[in-house]
C-alpha cells in the first residue's frame, strides 16, 4: 500500500509504521479497541463513542481493502459500537428508567466491563508467556531431548492411511487445476515408478508421493500402487506419533533381495 492511503486512514499520526504490520497484533476486535483507547489516551470510563466508532470502522474498511478476512466478530463489534453511539444520542427512555429515579445505565457500561475483563486475561497471558520463557531456560536431568535419539514409532493402521489419503484428495480438490488430458497410468507403471523413487530415497513422506499428480484418477492409481507395495511387504509405513505424518521406507528384507 502507498503512503497517501496510510495518511487518509491514520491522519492523526502519519509517522506510524505501515498499518499492515500493526494489524497483525490485533487478535480480535477487543484488542483493536484497547489499542485505540491507549493510543488516543482516552479514559476507559468515558469513551467518546462516536470518535472511537469512526476509528474502528476505518480499520475495518482498511482490513477489507487489504483482503484480510474480516470474521463475523469484527462486524458484531461494529454493530455494537453503532448501537451504543445511537443510544448515547437519544435521551434516556422514560419507560425504561427505574421507578426510584436512579440514573439510567450508561450504554457503554457493558462494553467497558468486557474490555477490562479482556485486558485482565491479556495480562494473564503475558504472565504465562514470561513463565514459559523461564521454563524454556531450564533443563532437568536427564535432559529429555537427548534421550529422544531413539525414535519411537507407531505402526500405521489402514484407518490412518485412509485418513491421510483423504487429506491428499481434499488438498487436490481445493486446487482448481484443470484436467487437460486423460493420461492413462496403470498400476504396474506406477509400481515401477514408486520402486525407482524408493531406490533413490531411503524414506519418503506419504503426502509427498502425491504432490505432482495432476488428476484424481492418477491419485487413486498411486494410492493403490502404494497399498500393493505394502501387501508385497516391499515397503513399511510408520508414524513418529499417532495422527502424524506417515513415513514410507523400504522394508529391510526387500532391500536384501533386491
Amino acid at each position: 500500500m502507498d503512503g497517501t492511503e496510510n495518511q487518509e486512514l491514520d491522519g492523526a499520526s502519519p509517522e506510524e509504521p505501515s498499518l499492515t504490520i500493526r494489524l497483525e497484533g490485533f487478535e480480535g476486535p477487543l484488542d483493536l479497541l484497547l489499542h485505540l483507547i491507549k493510543r488516543e489516551e482516552l479514559d476507559i470510563w468515558n469513551i467518546p463513542v462516536a470518535h472511537i466508532t469512526e476509528q474502528y470502522l476505518d480499520y475495518l474498511q482498511f482490513m477489507q481493502e487489504v483482503n484480510i478476512n474480516v470474521a463475523g466478530e469484527w462486524l458484531v463489534m461494529a454493530a455494537t459500537l453503532i448501537y451504543i453511539k445511537s443510544r448515547m444520542l437519544l435521551p434516556p427512555d422514560p419507560v425504561m428508567a427505574s421507578p426510584d429515579g436512579e440514573a439510567p445505565d450508561d450504554p457503554r457500561k457493558e462494553l467497558v466491563y468486557q474490555l477490562l475483563e479482556h485486558q485482565k486475561f491479556r495480562n494473564a497471558a503475558q504472565m504465562l508467556y514470561t513463565r514459559e520463557e523461564v521454563e524454556n531456560a531450564v533443563w532437568n536431568s536427564p535432559p529429555r531431548d537427548l534421550l529422544e535419539d531413539e525414535k519411537e514409532v507407531v505402526a500405521v493402521t489402514l484407518f490412518d492411511l485412509l485418513r491421510a489419503f483423504h487429506e491428499v484428495v481434499k488438498r487436490f480438490e481445493s486446487q482448481t487445476a484443470m484436467e487437460l488430458d486423460q493420461e492413462e497410468v496403470t498400476i504396474d507403471q506406477k509400481l515401477g515408478e514408486l520402486r525407482r523413487m524408493l531406490i533413490v530415497h531411503d524414506s519418503l513422506v506419504f503426502s509427498s508421493f502425491f504432490t505432482k499428480v495432476k488428476s484424481k484418477r492418477h491419485l487413486i492409481v498411486t494410492f493403490l500402487a502404494l497399498l500393493e507395495l505394502v501387501r508385497l511387504r516391499e515397503i513399511w509405513l510408520y508414524q513418529e506419533k499417532a495422527f502424524e505424518e506417515i513415513h514410507i521406507t523400504r522394508s529391510k528384507s526387500a532391500g536384501e533381495t533386491a
Binding site: E27, G28, P29, L30, L34, I37, K38, D43, I44, W45, A71, E73, M77, Q114, L116, E117, H118, Q119, K120, F121, R122, N123, A124, A125, Q126, M127, L128, Y129, R131, E132, E133, V134, E135, N136, A137, V138, W139, N140, S141, P142, P143, R144, D145, L146
Partner: protein
C-alpha cells in the same frame, strides 16, 4: 529412618526421575515412614539444596519436586548443548489458555465471550499439546464440553499448583491502570 538419612536418598531419586517426584509416590517406597516425615524431608532438602546457590535447584512443580538447572545459566547451557529455544505458544493460544486456567471448567462459548473472538484453532493447539484437557460436560442444553488445564500445564509453566497463579484481581489492578 532419620530425616538426615532420608534426605540424600530423596535427592538421588529426584535427580534420576523424569517427572516431578510427589510425596505420595515416595510413601509407596518408604512404607515405614510417615507421609509428614517424607514431606518435611523433601522441603528441607529443597531448602538446603537451593541455599547452596549452585547451578542446579530443586523446585516444586505440579505437586512434586524436580531438579533443574537454574534459568540464569541458560545461555551457556544452550550454547553447550547447541539447542535452540523450543517452540513457544502464540499469543492467541496463551490468551485462550489464560481464560481456561482462570475460569475452569469452562466451555468454548464462554471462552469466546471473554476473548471476543473465535478460539477454536487455539484450543486445538492446546489440546494437542495436552496443556488443556476435557473435564466433562456442562449440564445445560446441548451439554457443551468443559475444558480445564492439565498436569502438563503446571509442568510447562513451572507451577506448583493452580493456586500459585496470581489472582485475577492482581491483573484487574493492572488493567485498571488503563483508566
Amino acid at each position: 529412618m532419620e530425616i538426615e538419612e532420608l534426605q540424600p536418598i530423596l535427592e538421588a531419586i529426584i535427580y534420576a526421575a523424569d517427572d516431578p517426584v510427589r510425596p505420595e509416590q515416595l510413601k509407596e517406597i518408604f512404607t515405614d515412614e510417615s507421609y509428614d516425615k517424607i514431606e518435611t524431608a523433601l522441603h528441607r532438602l529443597a531448602e538446603e539444596f537451593n541455599a547452596r546457590r549452585g547451578g542446579m535447584c530443586i523446585r516444586e512443580i505440579a505437586g512434586g519436586f524436580r531438579m533443574t538447572t537454574r534459568p540464569e545459566h541458560h545461555e551457556y547451557v544452550r550454547a553447550y548443548l547447541q539447542t535452540k529455544p523450543g517452540a513457544k505458544l502464540s499469543m492467541a493460544a496463551l490468551e485462550t489458555l489464560a481464560v481456561i486456567a482462570y475460569k475452569q471448567p469452562v466451555t468454548l462459548a464462554e471462552v469466546l465471550a471473554i476473548r471476543g473472538k473465535k478460539s477454536t484453532t487455539a484450543l486445538h493447539t492446546l489440546l494437542e499439546k495436552k496443556l488443556v484437557v476435557i473435564t466433562g460436560r456442562k449440564p445445560v442444553v446441548g451439554r457443551p464440553i468443559l475444558y480445564g488445564t492439565s498436569k502438563e500445564f503446571l509442568v510447562h509453566f513451572g507451577l506448583k499448583d493452580l493456586s500459585e497463579l496470581p489472582t485475577l484481581e492482581e491483573f484487574a489492578q493492572m488493567a485498571g491502570e488503563l483508566s
